[in-house]
């Protein structure tokens, strides 16, 4: 099993979610995140005083998938999250040792 993690622009969540649903992914975890890559932050001005906001808001999306689906899921996320502008985010895959469904006790691929 693999864990596909993606950091995306918040407004792209709907697109990514529906693309994953169409592909057949049944669940995901989404959390708010903040950070920066090459685009860096932005500058806000309060009563003339400038504040540089280093971390910009992002969403972190996590999906557990079967080994064979990992490449396709990465592909689906990367395509659906893309705007072509700086700050689109990243997708990465990490191996997962065990998964247990809490309700039934099923393990491995059964639990996905």
């Amino acid at each position: 099993m693999k864990l596909v993690t993606a950091v995306i622009k918040p407004f792209k969540l709907d697109d990514v979610r529906s693309a994953l649903e169409t592909f057949g992914v049944q669940g995901m975890t989404v959390s708010e995140a903040s950070g920066y890559g090459r685009q860096k932050g932005h500058t806000e001005v309060y009563r003339g005083a400038e504040y540089t906001v280093d971390l910009v808001p992002k969403l972190r999306l996590e999906v557990l998938v079967d080994d064979s689906d990992a490449d396709d899921v990465v592909d689906v996320v990367a395509k659906s999250a893309q705007t072509g502008k700086i700050g689109d985010g990243k997708v990465w895959v990490t191996p997962v040792e065990t998964v247990i469904r809490v309700r039934t006790g099923e393990t491995g691929a059964e639990a996905l």
């Binding site: 806000e44 001005v45 309060y46 009563r47 003339g48 005083a49 504040y51 540089t52 906001v53």
Partner: protein
């Protein structure tokens, strides 16, 4: 002696309630601008004024400001201590004296509360409370006597003898609070990390809500200062509305030219700057004159805020830039824009009145500014050397909500706090669930 007028009485009582609302409004205006770890402390600095000032106002404040003059227009007597000689039948002008007592009380509350913005995030709460008592006593009460006490030429020296025009408190309230704010910001010193750490306003909706409440209450402040419900009150009302509007526009104009964006903080600040500037002038200038007053205030106040960076004093929430500068703008512009159609006599330079009114306005403005700055500086220094004005570094870094009040303003977690603590059980029926209820857990 004029008879009691029920319309006047109703309006002054309603105005008093409006002016009272300004202090909670100010609390939100200020509270939204500080960091989230200090918002409760900021609210409390205003709210404690609502608790302290009425008590001392009844005990001796009203008497010192509004009893028969005893010192050439400098101070009132002690004949009304405890409001002893004021009764249900007492009349002040055309309203019951109790209504006048109440109306003037609200001015005393908001004036001292205004100062708190200059020492946000770092003042000891107990010392602040002590400061409120002492500052109202030795600064506000005399100045209110100078500016607000009329007694057929035997009243306060600024209003009743010099003949400077200050309808609702450009000098007594705003220059006074602004100069005190500057003194206290210097005495207490800069916040840790000033100009290095980001100190963004944590809740701009609060700031806008506060500005809106201030604007609403300010109609009582200005229009109520007519102490009657007639043309003068209505004229002050429309001037208050339009000067504020013009100041929002000009403040935003400065931002658009300088920073390319019109901000909500700018709009809220512009509104307050306009309100401050029109306060002394609302019954001296025409509605078009009020637009000029507001427009000038919006520009000058927005630029004046930069002074603290140039001179290196941490007037955290810009009490100097908005109230001192706005108060000066309004008070001095009367010397240029006063029209007999509103004042009933006095005219400014632009209306053919010559330099005379401008001279009187300048004397009033400068005297109040100097008196307030000097006395506040001495008072603040004495408090700082004795009981201490500033919290510890650890307390300042942690935030005053926790260290001064042991409270938390916001609980945003979706689990409603179960992840960070649990309720403390009464000893007799406490059942250990998971970990035992301990003091550690409550504090965590």
């Amino acid at each position: 002696m004029p008879e009691l007028n029920t319309g006047d009485t109703a309006w002054v009582l309603a105005s008093s309630a409006l002016v009272l609302l300004m202090t909670p409004g100010l609390a939100f205006f200020y509270g939204g601008m500080v960091r989230s770890k200090n918002v409760l402390n900021m609210l409390m600095m205003s709210f404690i004024c609502l608790a302290i000032v009425p008590v001392l106002w009844v005990l001796y404040g009203y008497s010192v400001s509004f009893d028969t003059d005893i010192a050439n227009g400098l101070l009132g007597g002690l004949g009304k201590v405890g409001l002893s000689s004021v009764g249900l039948e007492s009349v002040s002008g055309t309203i019951p004296e109790f209504a006048f007592v109440a109306f003037q009380l609200m001015f005393a509350i908001i004036t001292v509360a205004l100062i708190s913005g200059a020492v946000a995030d770092r003042a000891k709460f107990g010392t602040w409370a002590l400061f409120v008592v002492l500052w109202v006593t030795i600064v506000y009460l005399p100045v209110a006597h100078w500016v607000f006490f009329f007694d057929e030429g035997n009243g306060g020296w600024i209003a009743d003898r010099l003949g400077a025009l200050d309808f609702a408190g450009g000098t007594a309230v705003h220059i006074n609070a602004g100069a005190a704010a500057l003194a206290l910001a210097v005495v207490v010193g800069k916040r840790m990390g000033w100009r290095r750490d980001p100190m963004r306003p944590h809740n701009l909706p609060f700031v806008v809500l506060g500005a809106a409440l201030l604007w609403f209450g300010w109609f009582g402040f200005n229009s109520g200062s007519a102490v009657s419900a007639g043309g003068l009150a209505a004229g002050a009302f429309i001037n208050t509305a339009v000067a504020t509007a013009a100041a929002i526009l000009s403040w935003l104009l400065v931002e658009i030219v300088r920073d390319k964006h019109a901000t909500t903080l700018g709009a809220a600040s512009g509104a307050v700057a306009g309100l401050v500037a029109i306060t002394p002038a609302c019954a001296a200038v025409s509605p078009v004159g009020a637009i000029v007053v507001g427009f000038v205030a919006g520009i000058l106040c927005s630029l004046a805020i930069g002074l603290k960076y140039r001179f290196g004093y941490d007037d955290s929430l810009d009490v100097v830039g908005v109230h001192l500068v706005g108060g000066l703008v309004g008070t001095l512009l009367i010397g240029l824009l006063a029209t007999a159609a509103f004042t009933g006599g006095a005219e400014g330079l632009f209306y053919g009145g010559g330099m005379d009114q401008l001279r009187k306005q300048s004397i009033a403005a400068v005297t109040v500014m100097v008196y307030s700055f000097v006395v506040t500086y001495i008072l603040g220094t004495i408090l700082d050397k004795t009981v201490g004005f500033r919290v510890s570094q650890e307390s300042e870094a942690t935030g005053l909500d926790e260290t001064a009040h042991l409270e938390t303003a916001y609980e945003f977690g979706s689990a409603s706090g179960v992840a960070v603590g649990h309720a403390r059980q009464p000893a007799e029926d406490a059942e250990p669930v998971g970990t035992a209820a301990s003091e550690e857990g409550v504090k965590a």
